[in-house]
C-alpha cells in the first residue's frame, strides 16, 4: 500500500522545479476560473470596467491635457521676448498679440514704437495694429519684418508656402495663415474685404470697401498664427472708417502720406539683445514711466493665466478622484454582491482541494482584471477627451495639442487604477476566503 500523498518526494531541486511548475499551472487554473467568473457576470464586468475606464481616462485627461495645454501656451516658440502695449494687463496684451484672443487694451503712439525701435537694447521691434477681422479670423496690420522672426533653430517661424510671397507694405496685399486659407477657401490671387471689428458678424454691411488680394499663404505652424490675416500696417491705418487719434482725430486721405504723430499701434513685439535689457526696459515701462505696459517674459504672463486657473484644475482633479473612488467602489460592490451566489462555487472549489488563498486569489484576479481592462479602455477615454480638447483649443486659439504628448500620469494613473482594483477586490476576496465549505455544499444553501 502506498503512502498517502501529503508530501512531495524527490530531491530538493526536483521538488523545487515541481513546485514552480505547479505554481505556474495553478496560477493558470485560477486565471481561468477568474476569467470564467467574469464571463458569467459579463454585464456587471463590462459596466464596472467602463466606470473604471471613465475614471482612469478622466484623471489622465485632467493631468495630461491641462499640462499639455499649459506647455503649449507657455513654451511655444514665439521668436520674441516681450510685448509692449497700452497701459493695462500684461496678460490681456499677450492674449491679444500672441494668441489673437481678447480685445486690444488700447493703442500706443507711433513715437513710442519709434523710440523703442531705436533703443540699442532692442534687436527687433515689430508694430501691430489690430481691430478688424475676416470671417472670424483676426486681421493684423504689421510690417514684413514679422515674417523674419526666427525660432531657436534659426529658421523663420512663419514661412510663406511656395507660390506665394510676403505682402508689399505699400499695397493692399495680404498673407493668410494656413487655417484661414483652408477654412475661408482662399488662396494666392484670391480677393477679399476685411470686416469691421473682431467679432464675425458677416454680411456686406460690415465689410470694408477696401479689397485685398492674397499674395501668400503661410505653411501650417500649429500655432495661433495659422488663424491670422496679415496685412501691411499702413492698410489698417487707411481702412475706411478708421480714425487715427495719435494727435487729435485724423482720417487718412488717399494719396497723402500719414504724418507720424497721427499714427498709432496696438502693440509692439520686441526681441532684446540680452536678458539684461528685459529687466531694464520692464523697470522703465512698468515702474518709471508707467505710460505703457511691457509684458516680459511673455511665457510668464501666460503662466499667470494657468496659475489663476489653478483652483479650476484642483476642482477637476477632485471630481476625477471622486469618479475613481466611485469606480473602485463599484468594482468592490459588484464582486461583493456576487459572493452570495458564488458561495457554492467556492465551496465546490475548496472541496476539490483549492486552498482558501486560491479562492481569495481568484477574486483578487477578477478585480484586478476589471481594473486593468478599465485602465486600458481609459486610454481610449483619454484620447477622446484629448481629441475634443484639441479641437476646441485649435478652433479658438490655433494651438495644436499633440496626441503623443507624454506625461508621467499616462503611466502612473493606469498602474494606480490596477492597484486600486487589487484593493477593491480584497473585501470580496476575504468573503470568498471565509466561505464555510460545509454550509456552502449543503443542498439548502
Amino acid at each position: 500500500m502506498s503512502a498517502p500523498q501529503d508530501t512531495d518526494g524527490g530531491t530538493p531541486p526536483a521538488r523545487a522545479a515541481r513546485a514552480v511548475r505547479g505554481a505556474g499551472v495553478r496560477l493558470l487554473v485560477l486565471a481561468g476560473i477568474a476569467r470564467r467568473g467574469l464571463n458569467q457576470h459579463a454585464l456587471s464586468t463590462v459596466v464596472t470596467a467602463l466606470s473604471a475606464a471613465l475614471a482612469s481616462g478622466l484623471v489622465l485627461a485632467v493631468f495630461a491635457v491641462s499640462a499639455q495645454t499649459r506647455e503649449a501656451f507657455t513654451s511655444g516658440a514665439l521668436g520674441i521676448d516681450a510685448v509692449l502695449g497700452a497701459r493695462g494687463s500684461p496678460l490681456q496684451l499677450v492674449l491679444n498679440t500672441v494668441f489673437h484672443l481678447e480685445t486690444s487694451p488700447g493703442n500706443l503712439p507711433w513715437s513710442t514704437y519709434e523710440a523703442v525701435r531705436a533703443d540699442p537694447r532692442v534687436a527687433r521691434a515689430i508694430p501691430y495694429a489690430v481691430g478688424d477681422s475676416y470671417r472670424g479670423f483676426r486681421v493684423v496690420g504689421t510690417t514684413p519684418e514679422r515674417f523674419e522672426l526666427e525660432g531657436a533653430d534659426g529658421r523663420p517661424l512663419l514661412r510663406v508656402a511656395p507660390g506665394g510671397r510676403v505682402f508689399d507694405p505699400g499695397r493692399r496685399e495680404a498673407v493668410l495663415g494656413a487655417s484661414v486659407a483652408r477654412r475661408a477657401g482662399l488662396g494666392v490671387g484670391s480677393h477679399f474685404h476685411p470686416e469691421h471689428g473682431v467679432g464675425h458678424r458677416g454680411g456686406e454691411d460690415h465689410e470694408h470697401e477696401e479689397e485685398y488680394v492674397v499674395v501668400g499663404v503661410l505653411e501650417p505652424t500649429s500655432s495661433p498664427s495659422d488663424r491670422v490675416v496679415w496685412i501691411p500696417i499702413e492698410g489698417v491705418f487707411r481702412m475706411g472708417g478708421h480714425v487715427l487719434r495719435g494727435a487729435g482725430s485724423y482720417v487718412p486721405r488717399p494719396g497723402e502720406a500719414i504724418p507720424d504723430e497721427h499714427k498709432e499701434v496696438s502693440a509692439v513685439l520686441l526681441k532684446f539683445r540680452g536678458r539684461q535689457a528685459g529687466f531694464q526696459l520692464a523697470a522703465l515701462f512698468n515702474q518709471e514711466e508707467r505710460a505703457a505696459t511691457l509684458a516680459w517674459p511673455v511665457a510668464a504672463s501666460m503662466a499667470e493665466v494657468f496659475d489663476k486657473l489653478g483652483w479650476l484644475h484642483r476642482v477637476l482633479e477632485l471630481v476625477a478622484y471622486l469618479v475613481v473612488a466611485v469606480a473602485a467602489g463599484s468594482i468592490l460592490a459588484s464582486l461583493y454582491n456576487a459572493m452570495g451566489e458564488r458561495r457554492r462555487e467556492f465551496a465546490i472549489l475548496r472541496a476539490l482541494g483549492a486552498r482558501r488563498r486560491a479562492v481569495f486569489g481568484v477574486i483578487v484576479l477578477e478585480s484586478t482584471a476589471i481594473a486593468a481592462l478599465g485602465a486600458a479602455l481609459g486610454y481610449l477615454v483619454y484620447m477622446l477627451v484629448l481629441a475634443a480638447a484639441a479641437v476646441l483649443v485649435r478652433r479658438s486659439t490655433g494651438v495644436v495639442l499633440d496626441p503623443f504628448f507624454f506625461h508621467p500620469a499616462l503611466v502612473v494613473v493606469p498602474l494606480a487604477m490596477v492597484g486600486l482594483g487589487v484593493l477593491a477586490g480584497l473585501l470580496p476576496a476575504w468573503r470568498a476566503y471565509s466561505t464555510d465549505v460545509a454550509r456552502g455544499l449543503s443542498p439548502t444553501s
Binding site: 501529503d6 495553478r26 458569467q40 472541496a351 476539490l352 482541494g353 460545509a438
Partner: protein, 234 residues
C-alpha cells in the same frame, strides 16, 4: 492496516442558544483499501458530517481520523486541502458541477489542485462514461444522469485512493440509480479506490461489500454494547 480509521471522533457545533450540540459521535470506523462500503443512517444523524470530516473539510472537535496512518485532524487546513486534492474524490448528491464550465472543464478542475490539469485524461474518462459527445456542454445542457456521470468522472479524475459519495443517486430514478452505483463501483474497482457511499436506497445496499449503520458505530452504541455485553460494530 486500514486505509481509513476513525477513532473517538466527536463533532460539536453550538446550537442556537450557544450550547454545544453533538452532531457526530463515532467510536470507531475502519475502511480498507479498495473496500466498497455503504453508510446508512437516519436523516440528521451525521452522515454528511462524517464525510466532511473524512474529506478534511471539517476538523473534528475530538478524536483521530487516520488516513493510511496520517492523522488528518492534526494537519493544518492547507495540508488537508492538499491531501484532499491528491487522495480523495467527492461525489455530491446534487453533483455540484460548476455551472460556468463545460463537462470537460469540470473534470479538468477536479485534477487542477491535485495531480494537475490533464485534458486528455479527462476527455478519456468522460468518453469511457459515454459522454464523448457532451464534452463541451455545460451542466445545464446535460440530463441529470449525464451530470451524475460528469460528477463521478470529476471525483475519479485524480485517481484518488478513496471516493466519498453523499447520496449520489438521490436525484435519479431507481433504475438509473442502480446503474450509476454499479458504474461507480466498477470505476473505483478499476483504479483501486475505496468507496464510501452514503445512501438511502435499500435496494442498493446488497451490492456493497459492507453496510455500516451510523448509529452502530457511535460511542453511545459502544457504551450500550459494553454495558450489555452484547455484539456491536459495523
Amino acid at each position: 492496516m486500514a486505509l481509513l480509521e476513525l477513532a473517538d471522533v466527536l463533532v460539536r457545533f453550538p446550537d442556537p442558544e450557544g450550547r454545544p450540540e453533538t452532531v457526530l459521535d463515532v467510536a470507531r470506523f475502519e475502511l480498507d483499501a479498495g473496500e466498497h462500503v455503504a453508510l446508512v443512517g437516519a436523516s440528521g444523524s451525521g452522515k454528511t458530517t462524517l464525510l466532511h470530516v473524512v474529506a478534511g473539510l471539517l476538523r473534528p472537535t475530538a478524536g483521530r481520523v487516520l488516513f493510511d496512518g496520517v492523522d488528518l485532524a492534526g494537519l493544518s487546513e492547507g495540508r488537508r486541502d492538499a491531501f484532499r486534492a491528491r487522495n480523495l474524490g467527492y461525489v455530491f448528491q446534487s453533483f455540484h458541477l460548476l455551472q460556468g464550465f463545460t463537462a470537460l472543464e469540470n473534470v479538468v478542475l477536479g485534477m487542477a489542485f491535485g495531480s494537475g490539469p490533464d485534458r486528455a485524461a479527462a476527455r478519456e474518462l468522460l468518453e469511457r462514461l459515454g459522454l464523448g459527445h457532451r464534452l463541451h456542454h455545460r451542466p445545464a445542457q446535460l440530463s441529470v444522469g449525464q451530470q451524475q456521470r460528469v460528477a463521478l468522472a470529476r471525483a475519479l479524475a485524480n485517481r484518488p485512493r478513496l471516493v466519498l459519495a453523499d447520496e449520489p443517486t438521490g436525484n435519479l430514478d431507481p433504475a438509473r440509480a442502480r446503474e450509476a452505483l454499479e458504474l461507480a463501483r466498477e470505476l473505483c474497482a478499476d483504479c483501486g479506490a475505496a468507496l464510501l457511499v452514503v445512501t438511502h436506497d435499500p435496494a442498493a445496499l446488497g451490492e456493497f461489500q459492507r453496510v455500516v449503520r451510523l448509529d452502530e458505530i457511535s460511542a453511545a452504541a459502544r457504551t450500550a454494547v459494553a454495558a450489555g455485553g452484547g455484539e456491536g460494530g459495523a
